[in-house]
Symmetry: C2
Subunit: 136 residues, 2 copies
């Protein structure tokens, strides 16, 4: 993991579909074979986990973005997890945290109505504090 590797990662974060030829040029390697084998190594080591796309969630129909601090007294979190499984469409991340609350749940919704419906059902399993994202 030298400086060239770090440059490669930066370039691929900006453009994950970059041609190996161009990537090589940008990090000062001649030909695509050298760049290609470094990328392969980064994949094998698990430093590059996967290739993906950034999607415009607003244009995809999920403009409402929020974080929920989940609070529960119950020792059994399974019903909460089971509930999340049924709402995969909305759930983006569920972080187990220390601090206030047990989980930080990141969600996306088509509208406030759908958010409200979600909250009503969520409240059967846990308590929460809601933070709505105004600007990313």
């Amino acid at each position: 993991m030298d400086n060239t590797d770090r440059m490669i990662i930066k370039e691929l974060q900006d453009n994950g579909r970059m041609k190996m030829k161009e990537l090589g040029e940008r990090v000062h390697l001649t030909g695509q074979a050298a760049a290609s084998s470094r990328v392969q190594k980064l994949e094998d080591e698990g430093i590059i986990e996967s290739y993906t796309i950034r999607v415009n969630e607003k244009k995809m129909g999920y403009p409402v973005h929020c974080f929920l601090t989940i609070i529960t007294d119950s020792l059994h979190h399974q019903p909460y997890f089971a509930f999340l499984e049924t709402k995969q469409e909305y759930v983006r991340n569920n972080y187990k945290i220390s601090g206030e609350g047990c989980y930080l749940l990141e969600c996306r919704f088509p509208s406030n109505e759908e958010l409200d419906g979600f909250l009503v059902q969520l409240n059967k399993h846990v308590s929460y504090k809601l933070s709505i994202v105004i600007r990313e």
Copy 2:
């Protein structure tokens, strides 16, 4: 934006470097040209914003992951923003939120020592509540 487009997006989220030929086969289009032109359209419409990689932040040297609820009485948030600019290495997201606090700040650190150093300086500008991620 029909069902094929949604399938394409799902496939590219899983593998952003997929060959157009394979993508075509997976969504039941013959040849790469049809898949390619649909992807081009999704890019032009801004639904696909960019191609990127998922990086293992732990292996990159940033194992400590936390969220900070930022609280400030001051009307001037500029010093806070200026501070964040100098700490880009650690900052992953800064969401403006409604609810408790003004911002939800997502950060990554090499160690708790660096986190502590960050908090000391942060505290000169704003108050915060800290949540450390135990499991992603």
